[in-house]
């Protein structure tokens, strides 16, 4: 294959990564932005979403689309419920203290990972894509499903943007993010907002996982890499900036896809991680963020 088509293929793969990453990073960014909680277990919510997608899809027979759509509904709901319980039982009792919640979410990470290993097992298992249509480019055929992931991600991101900026729920969330004490004084039920945001963040990760699982399969260790990548996205994009998160996700996804296609994937990861650490060291508010309070 010539250089041009090869680059196009790498870019397409990169965009698929970006689409999933943007959803996942958005969840992380919302939780961090509103609650000031660094959710280290976010990657495990992603993994749980994928594992539950396999479980849901395995319950039904017939056309793969039925199983997939069912997974798309049920998996995020269960993950959201798990997150809600975790928030009530642990995070709230810690009063959302940043350091204590980090330790606690590390604990959640291990618990979820072990439970997945015990009940699901160490195998990687696939979920059938809802359709297998291939789009033919002049040089190669490309999976239509992968392109539909990008479309689904754009729809979901737009919906989130709409909710955040144009609805009362979004207003309440932004008020809580800006100043939770004043919000409380104005009658906003801050701890219900926190619980909702934490569950929403987890559900976004689960949706991302269901979308990716027909391509990569579900595995109990699949949470760590996306977690680090979404940290990277959130930091580069700047906290609480939806626009920044999306731009950063596209940037990271594309460069990951292209660098790994032409160089060693390990080297790509090393360079990306190092660059981001440097961004955080020298520009802690991120490339697109405004200075934090």
């Amino acid at each position: 294959m010539a250089f041009g088509p090869h680059l196009l293929l790498a870019a397409l793969e990169g965009l698929v990564t970006s689409a999933v990453l943007a959803l996942m990073a958005l969840g992380l960014s919302l939780v961090f932005g509103v609650m000031r909680v660094v959710n280290v277990a976010h990657g495990e919510f992603f993994m749980l979403g994928a594992v539950l997608a396999w479980w849901t899809a395995s319950l039904v027979t017939g056309h793969p689309a039925i199983g997939f759509l069912l997974a798309l509904v049920i998996s995020p709901l269960i993950v959201g419920a798990v997150a809600l319980v975790a928030e009530r039982l642990v995070l709230r009792r810690l009063n959302y203290n940043p350091e204590a919640t980090i330790v606690a979410t590390i604990g959640m990470l291990y618990i979820i990972q072990q439970l997945a290993l015990t009940f699901y097992g160490p195998q990687a298992r696939p979920v059938d894509a809802p359709f297998t249509y291939r789009i033919l480019f002049p040089w190669f055929g490309y999976s239509g499903y992968k392109l539909s992931i990008i479309a689904a991600s754009i729809v979901l991101l737009t919906a989130t943007w709409f909710v955040l900026t144009r609805t009362k729920i979004g207003l309440v969330m932004r008020a809580t993010q800006y100043d939770s004490e004043t919000a409380q004084a104005f009658g906003i039920p801050v701890d219900r907002v926190y619980a909702g945001v934490f569950a929403l963040g987890a559900m976004l990760a689960a949706v991302a996982a269901v979308l990716i699982v027909p391509i990569t399969q579900a595995h109990y260790l699949m949470g760590m890499d996306p977690l680090l990548l979404s940290f990277i996205v959130v930091i580069i994009g700047g906290l609480g900036s939806l626009r920044g998160t999306v731009i950063a996700a596209v940037l990271i996804g594309l460069s990951d896809g292209i660098i790994s296609a032409f160089f060693s994937p390990t080297l790509a990861k090393i360079i990306a991680t190092l660059l981001v650490a440097m961004v955080l060291v020298f520009r802690p508010q991120g490339l697109f963020g405004t200075a934090s309070r």
Binding site: V38, I102, A104, I106, G107, I270, T273, M278, L280, V281
Partner: protein, 321 residues
């Protein structure tokens, strides 16, 4: 605190702990003898972590890189260049010092949550580097150091560190030295400044202390102690592999320190010992080792944030350092 009287008590307590560990060498059954040697080396790692987390209040999520710096610094020089043990051990310490100085200069520009994420990312870079240079490190498979590289020659006479009793004594020697050094540091002026920074950095700065320099010293001391544990691990147990640089090995010392009691000199040892046996005993009933680590972390932060020795100090023995 009653000055000299409590100093003497503190010193005697630490000497007593060392003496008990020395005596245990002769009476422990073989299996526990081996476990305790390992626990002593790993608790040196925890003590290094405690210097930064417990006393200076800096929560790092990347200390595996310092352990790994010592591990690879000693392991690679011994394996590839055939360096003798003292030289290889020194190479481990130097690697730890250089790395922690560089990381400290960069990471200390950030605070709080950003500090945790930055340290975690630098550690991830180090972890990936062990794979990138897998020609030298053999990545996950790791290197096994032969018996001949693990002999300490003193003239014609040599100590064979693959021999259990010698290994135990070597681990105890390192453990004792580091324990006494940390005791000395935390009771020194520098240690007091670190605690002041932990409690209120702004006020410490206003009192005229250079908080950045003090924190940098703490990072380097912590890094070198962790590297000494890594180097000792490579030379005593003969295995060098990528898994020791993984995120999990950054989290384990945090767990051990939290359990034993942050900002207590003996807490890291108590925590490591306790956790090692909890995992060891439960793993004969279930393989759900991570579940126990996870549950322990959550229960600790929820109900027992001061850890075992921290609680004992608060309730009963006020003079515990």
């Amino acid at each position: 605190m009653t000055g000299n009287n409590s100093s003497a008590k503190v010193f005697l307590l630490h000497i007593a702990v060392i003496a008990i560990l020395f005596a245990l060498n002769f009476i422990l059954p073989e299996y526990h003898h081996g476990v305790l040697a390992r626990v002593m080396v790993l608790s040196v790692f925890a003590m290094g972590y405690n210097m930064l987390f417990g006393y200076a209040g800096l929560l790092s999520l990347g200390h595996a890189m310092f352990f790994a710096a010592g591990l690879y610094g000693a392991g690679l020089t011994a394996y590839h260049f055939g360096w003798a043990m003292p030289a290889a051990f020194a190479a481990g310490l130097v690697s730890g010092a250089v790395l922690s100085l560089a990381i400290g200069l960069l990471a200390l520009r950030t605070t709080g949550v950003a500090f945790m994420i930055v340290t975690m990312m630098f550690a991830q870079v180090c972890y990936l580097l062990t794979f990138y240079f897998s020609e030298w490190t053999r990545g996950d498979d790791g290197l096994v150091l032969g018996q001949d590289t693990r002999r300490l020659f003193i003239g014609d006479f040599y100590l064979d560190l693959t021999h259990p009793a010698t290994r135990y004594m070597a681990a105890l020697a390192l453990f004792s030295i580091v324990l006494l050094i940390t005791l000395f540091i935390v009771r020194s002026a520098h240690g007091r400044v670190l605690v002041a920074i932990r409690e209120n950095e702004e006020r410490t700065k206003m009192l005229g202390y250079d908080t950045f320099a003090n924190k940098l010293v703490a990072v380097v001391v912590s890094g070198v102690i962790c590297a000494s544990a890594g180097a000792a691990y490579a030379l005593l147990f003969g295995y060098v592999g990528s898994s020791f640089a993984s995120v999990q090995y950054s989290i384990l010392p945090l767990l051990w320190v939290l359990l034993g009691g942050a900002a207590t000199t003996l807490g890291p040892f108590v925590g490591t010992l306790f956790m090692y046996y909890v995992v060891d005993i439960t793993s004969s009933y279930t393989s759900a080792y991570l579940l126990i680590v996870g549950v322990a972390l959550i229960l600790l932060v929820l109900y027992f944030p001061k850890g075992i020795l921290g609680t004992i100090r608060e309730r009963w023995i006020r003079w515990l350092p």
